[in-house]
């Protein structure tokens, strides 16, 4: 009945509809869970079909309401949007499963499911938006939902962490809206393609406007995606959230804002403008600082979840590094890292959440010997940690290889050295976790493995880590086309 042309808008609409129906089903919890999982599954199937369609037939443009470009809102699904949409839908399906079957951490379950559905709908909307104000509205929806899924936990620390995230995120949104206002002032359009065509003429006439807009946009989206000096909200927020929320936030939400920045860069400003202004050097410096500082801060952490949160700061630095080096292989490495870090960080957060719930221990020093009591969970954690360090054979190696080769391609060998050094730093903070778990003296015997339904997402993600480490060629065409879009 629906041909594939309507798939982009259907992805967002199905998740939004489910988000509106689920809060009504407070007394029928099974129906709510089935609806939750069903919406996630349907959107995953649609995103596979959309990705296949984009590979075959090129970019899909969808005009909502039938009105074409200057009067209407367009959704532009090119290779980048299809790839990131695929990543979001698959990883979020795994997290949906975990949120349904894992032991309860939040009081108001249907509200939690509704918030996660809203967040996922907004993330799909961000990556597919072709109109800059539509992008802003979806950014706001996702920010509000992201703050809310931290605050549902109800403890003192989570509410304070979510309030700080709210304030800083609102600052970022203000900056983004200001930059949209400045660009609208100069071009008079809100559609990204038309803005790029107009900016080719008017950017020379109004250079200060475009420069200010770019500065506010980088700061605004940098606060939301936790680029180095603006990452202050992240450790508290990701460490004090429920497990599924931490996985969703660290694995997907933080990177969707980087995707939004790159989409605005190549669709609205045009990469020539991006080359002209000194934004590349600034982003390179901030990304390098993020990699080093994130790793150094993670080494001194004892709370496992805070360690993983600081590790996210460092990994976001990798993605920014890849996007600012702007050689073909560096951009491919950054795009790979979006997927691979999502898999690894989700695996780590979900497994660590299982460990924390089963044993009650939150610190690394308390974990001694637990690896022998929960073999499957800790095997998954070990695989995830090895992949974050970048051991060959795991998925993390592939993205770091591409990033290092891309740094050499761009003629800046110092960043390849930086990537190697940071892998060493990652080993310094990940290996004590594994060693303490397996080789400590024995822990309490009451700790058991979780149920099979909870182990399933962990196993699936661990298999994905190995699969992408040994056979990364499945998604290669999409990644190549994405890199072409950005570096042309």
């Amino acid at each position: 009945m629906f041909s594939l042309t309507h798939a982009p808008i259907l992805m967002v609409v199905i998740l939004l509809t489910a988000a509106f129906i689920v809060p009504l089903l407070r007394k029928h919890l099974l129906v709510a869970k089935a609806l939750f999982l069903g919406a996630g599954l349907l959107v995953t199937i649609l995103s596979f079909l959309v990705a296949w369609n984009v590979l075959e037939n090129g970019t899909m443009v969808y005009n909502v309401g039938g009105w074409a470009a200057p009067h209407g809102i367009a959704l532009v699904v090119d290779a980048f949007a299809a790839y990131v949409s695929l990543v979001i839908s698959v990883i979020s399906l795994v997290i949906f499963w975990f949120a349904v079957f894992a032991p309860r951490e939040v009081k108001h379950e249907v509200g939690y499911y509704a918030l996660i559905l809203l967040l996922t709908a907004a993330m799909h909307g961000i990556v597919m938006a072709g109109d800059i104000f539509n992008l802003f509205v979806f950014v706001e929806i996702s920010s509000l939902a992201a703050v809310a899924i931290i605050a549902v936990k109800g403890t003192k620390e989570s509410i304070e962490a979510s309030f700080r995230y709210l304030i800083l995120s609102a600052l970022g949104s203000g900056g983004l809206l200001f930059s949209i206002a400045l660009l609208f002032m100069v071009t008079g359009h809100l559609n990204m393609d038309l803005m790029r065509q107009t900016l080719e003429v008017t950017a020379g006439q109004y250079p200060l406007n475009v420069l200010t807009a770019l500065a506010f946009m980088v700061v605004g989206l940098g606060v939301k995606s936790a680029l180095f000096p603006l990452h202050i909200w992240l450790p508290d927020a990701h460490a004090n959230a429920p497990t599924a929320s931490s996985a969703l936030l660290s694995g997907l939400v933080v990177k969707v804002y980087i995707v939004a920045l790159m989409r605005i860069a190549y669709m609205t400003l045009g990469m020539e403008l991006f080359y002209l202004l000194p934004i590349r050097q600034i982003l390179l410096v901030m990304a390098s600082l993020a990699i080093v500082a994130g790793s150094v801060f993670a080494i001194v952490q004892d709370n496992i979840k805070r360690l993983l949160a600081f590790s996210t700061v460092a990994q976001v630095g990798y993605i920014f590094l890849g996007f600012s080096l702007l050689s073909a292989r560096a951009v491919e490495g950054a795009v790979w890292h979006i997927l691979i870090h999502a898999i690894m960080k989700t695996l780590l957060f979900l497994a660590v959440g299982v460990v924390i719930h089963q044993s009650g221990y939150k610190k690394i020093s308390q974990l001694h010997g637990l690896g022998r009591r929960m073999p499957l969970t800790f095997a998954c954690i070990t695989l995830g940690a090895l992949s974050m360090v970048g051991i060959p054979g795991t998925a993390g190696f592939i993205s770091k290889l591409y990033l290092a080769l891309g740094a050499l391609d761009a003629g800046q060998a110092i960043f390849a050295v930086l990537i190697l050094l940071s892998s060493l730093l990652s080993a310094v903070y990940y290996f004590p976790l594994i060693i303490t778990a397996y080789f400590g003296h024995d822990a309490s015997p009451t700790v058991v493995e979780p149920s099979l339904a909870v182990q399933l997402p962990l196993v699936v993600l661990a298999i994905a880590v190995l699969f992408y480490g040994l056979m990364p060629s499945i998604l290669l065409p999409l990644v190549r086309q994405t890199a072409l879009l950005i570096t042309r």
Binding site: F2, H6, I9, V13, L16, T17, F20, I21, P23, L24, R26, Y62, N63, V64, G65, G66, K107
Partner: protein
Amino acid sequence: MHDMVLEVVNRLLLPFIQLFGMYILFHGHLSPGGGFSGGAVIGASLILYSLTFRFARVKHRLDHDTSVFFEAAGALIYVAIGFVGLFFGYNFLTNRGVFPLGVPGQLWSSGMILIITLALGAKVSGTILSLFQELLEGGSDEHGNP
């Protein structure tokens, strides 16, 4: 609270406030206003009603489930109107080929915009009332137990 002055003034004023809110809603496609502002006015009138008269007396009519239902119903009607465009072969949320557009400037014109405005008004007023009720019972859980 059982203040005589408040009760009498509210009984006189509330119909006019709601009438004004409905005027903003129904003329959303003709004059400034529309879904958000009309819904906000009606929601504010419902909050005024809840505040003035004793909350227990109001509870059986404007309880939490009703406001959540209105919230969800407004949004679902919006999505359903969008799907009507899909069923007729056009894109999502299409107005021109699908709904009867009247003469611009009259009340029953511009196809789906009137229906969407009314749905949005229901949703926004339900949301405002629901937020007020959540903040009011902030110390107790869903069944009113602290």
